[in-house]
């Protein structure tokens, strides 16, 4: 159980920071140029999905630990 918790807990740190940075930069971009909000949204979602995928790897590992 501890291994499972550690796997997902430690694995979620990096992606968490990554998603946070992506969100922050996107907000900054929208703040600078509010008309570009629709253009920023899709690349932001894609980038955050890439960051999220790393947490998902950790999650798969956490599930596969018996």
């Amino acid at each position: 159980m501890l291994a499972k918790g550690l796997a997902i807990g430690l694995g979620a740190i990096g992606p968490g920071i990554g998603v946070g940075l992506i969100g922050a930069k996107a907000m900054e971009a929208i703040g600078r140029n509010p008309e570009a909000a629709s253009k920023v949204l899709v690349p932001m979602l894609i980038a955050s999905a890439f960051a999220e995928a790393i947490a998902i790897y950790a999650l798969v590992i956490a599930f596969s630990i018996k």
Binding site: I46, A49, I56, Y57, L59, V60, F63
Partner: protein, 307 residues
């Protein structure tokens, strides 16, 4: 999605006194039947159903009369196709190439999308049989989202990467495509090291870059596979654990989130396939040659697509 277990068929061992039925989301798809020695898993069955659904939709669209003045459905479909083609153009930069790549990429998108949505459809995973496994009664659902099984995702990832390589061979020729991985032309340049001694260092580095690109192809398959599988499977586990906390009410927002994740992951899968296609069809040496004519320096090709 399988809290409301509906037992349609019960294979109970009468000797077993423990009649408690267990169900947990397994990492692998469970077998539900056999054709000869060929095992049919529940994920495989679902993907067949998805193929069947897509085939019927395509046949309906094939025999539907399209008019010059679009009806509502036609307008909607044209909107989707036009938007997708424009997105394709942004990546490839050429309508001719994107028209060639588009059918494969869009079919992959539709297949992955419907598979992702099948996983969260109520009823999928709710019907099943009870199998006795080592003294425990285990509930095995008949259907399971096909992309929540690593076999499906690795299959489509392999298909997309291998087809992108074949496409590259068709577009650039066999010699150039192989040269991407085994840099024979760069090694052959060692012969004229007297004119340019740096080639002795550059050529082995280039050879190593080629090896990296070859490993990158395998990494592409792995990342495509586990991104899709992990996201969809994690979604199913999330829904199951949420409905364990508070059934019926708590999972609702997460179902919407999974609906959205399904679109997003299908989109990313298709987008990455598209990017791999356009990497394979662009000639890395072209930039190099033009630079070579201007001054005698070699530009290192960018190691693209290492994700």
């Amino acid at each position: 999605m399988s809290r409301e277990i509906l037992i349609t068929e019960t294979i109970l061992n009468t000797e077993v006194e423990n009649t408690e039925v267990q169900h947990e989301s397994t990492l692998y798809a469970e077998p539900i039947g056999h054709i000869g020695s060929f095992t049919i898993t529940n994920a495989l069955l679902t993907s067949w159903i998805v193929v069947f659904i897509i085939a019927i939709l395509v046949l309906i669209l094939r025999f539907k009369k399209f008019t010059f003045r679009p009806t509502k459905i036609q307008n909607f479909l044209e909107l989707i196709i036009d938007g997708a083609l424009n997105l394709c153009d942004q990546v490839t930069g050429n309508r001719k190439i994107s028209l060639k790549i588009f059918p494969i990429v869009f079919s992959l998108f539709i297949f992955v999308l419907i598979n992702n949505w099948m996983g969260i459809l109520p009823g999928v995973g709710a019907f099943g049989q009870i199998v006795n496994e080592a003294g425990h009664n285990v509930f095995v659902p008949y259907l399971r989202g096909a992309t929540a099984d690593v076999n499906t995702t690795i299959a489509i990832a392999l298909v997309s990467v291998i087809i992108s390589n074949i496409f590259g061979i068709i577009a650039l020729g066999t010699w150039k495509s192989i040269n991407k991985y085994i840099k024979l032309t760069d090694l052959a340049k060692i012969r004229n090291f007297r004119n340019d001694p740096t080639i002795l260092i550059v050529a082995p580095v280039m050879f190593f870059v080629g090896l990296l690109e070859a490993i990158g192809e395998i990494a592409k398959v792995a990342s495509l596979t586990f991104r899709l599988y992990g996201n969809v499977f994690a979604g199913e586990v999330l829904l199951a654990s949420m409905s364990a906390i508070l059934p019926f009410i708590l999972p609702i927002p997460f179902v919407f989130m999974e609906f959205f994740v399904g679109i997003l992951q299908a989109f990313i899968f298709a987008m990455l396939t598209l990017v791999y296609f356009s990497i394979q069809t662009t000639d890395h040496d072209e930039h190099q040659k033009t630079a070579h004519h201007n001054d005698e320096k070699h530009l290192a090709p960018t190691v693209a697509g290492s994700v």
